[in-house]
Amino acid sequence: MTEINETKLPGVGTLHDFESQSGGRIGVIAHHADRREVVIYDSADPDRVSEGVTLTAEEARTLADLLGGTSVTKRLDDLRQEISGLAIDWLPISSNSPYVGKTIGETELRTRTGVSVVALVRGDQPLPAPGPDDELRAGDTAVVVGTAEGIDAATELLTARAR
């Protein structure tokens, strides 16, 4: 994954920038007022912005779409943040998961993998802190927390095709 630098600009907003594989540096300034500025760094003087374009919120969305905006949501699914041995992940429950229609208790997920389901996302609705009696439905996304290995095991369990 691309390494992105985040810099706070007090009074202005936040700058995110990264270096592309081809060697060019590009950044986006999110201004406090809902503007976005796309900046390209000078190849001779890497500290300096050589070209900048300011975009309104709508133009920024258009640009994101053109660049393949869906990758943002895809990335969210892939996102796995590790906090000193603790990992969090988003597991989509597909219709062919063996546990569709079963309750969280019935998956015995915690006993088998040590992983807890801390929230379910159903459509646009988050269901925080589901209990063992809450049912998994096709299309849900389970937000799980555990060790990295545990999450791998849980991913296999929850997403394995029904045999």
Binding site: P10, V12, L15, E37, S43, D45, D47
Partner: protein, 408 residues
Amino acid sequence: MILAATPGTATLLVELGVILVGLALLGRVAARFGLPSIPLYLVAGLVVGEGGVVELVTARTFIESGAQIGVILLLLLLGLEYTGEELTDALRDHAPAGGVDLALNFTPGLLLGLVLGWDVRAALLLGGITYISSSGIIAKLLADLGNTGNRETPVVLAILVAEDLFMALYLPLMAGLLIGGDALDIGLEVTAAIVAVVTALGLAVRYGDRISQVVFVRSDENLILSLLGLALLVAGIAEHLQASAAVGAFLVGIALNGPAEHAARTVLSPLRDLFAAMFFAFFGLQINPTDLPPVLAIAVALALVTAATKLATGWWSARQVGIDPPGRLRAGATLIARGEFSIVIAGIAVAEGIEDDIGPLAAAYVLILAVGGPLIARAVEPLTRRFSQLGRPARPRRTPTARGTTVS
């Protein structure tokens, strides 16, 4: 009958109208040459003030009140620019840069004041005048030059943040010192004022969200009344506690965030522009232009020295975070501009009447650096470009080839 204007109101309206139209025209001239409007407003004030070409009599009281509201709005909007988190982050990450800035730029003013045999308090005020860069001019400069995304910019902004925070302690400190009395009285006043500011700052950072929710309303009309009312109230209370009205307004600005902050910026910016213009004009108004020539040489010398010290500050601070020489030069040049806050500090000195020369000196000094700072920053741009091309091996550039030939 209300509409039957007395000769007094007629004169007031005409004088105010002439002043505002004059400021507007000057603003256009400034924009045309890419210059900040602050120095021109000062000049306008000089022209219509004491000993100027024409002297305003009737409108003066109105402009004086307008000027006080102007300071409050300047600081309120400055506070709005920052969230409490940004302040604490900038301080944590760039404290050394802030310290170097203070040492290099406060000292020349302070020393000059002492050398001139001024009252220590006047010397301390002159130190403040030379120390503080103009956030307003610099923000505009960064945007105009397209330098907001530059890697040296976070350092520049952090230095400005540190300066603004310093102001929040410095203004009440000076207010305490200016009241006078014996050492114990002053000590108590100053301690009380600073404790009040630090507590308020803590509350603003911690409970900002809550305060913002209470203040925010959807109606612009109601919002402007709530915000301006709150700012004036806090500023008034702060002034009463000898902690400086401006600092009170700054703290209100810091406390506001989220939707309230956005809305506040939109509705208050035009008001700020109007009253800040009056503030700069009023400062000019209090200065007799014939007092300027005698202090001009000193002002030029002070401007040269403190332009160099700001340049050094920017250079050093940018180097600390691994910026190459061209970026260091840009950081330094950008920081040179002095403006609104130097005038705020000089305004205190003039109001207290502690040293006759400080007003004219500050006016000349700010006139030089408010114009000179941006000019230097612009001049440095092409220079750094050449600089950077010298420094590193030129990358092979794709050259256009004649049609039909192939490049082997």
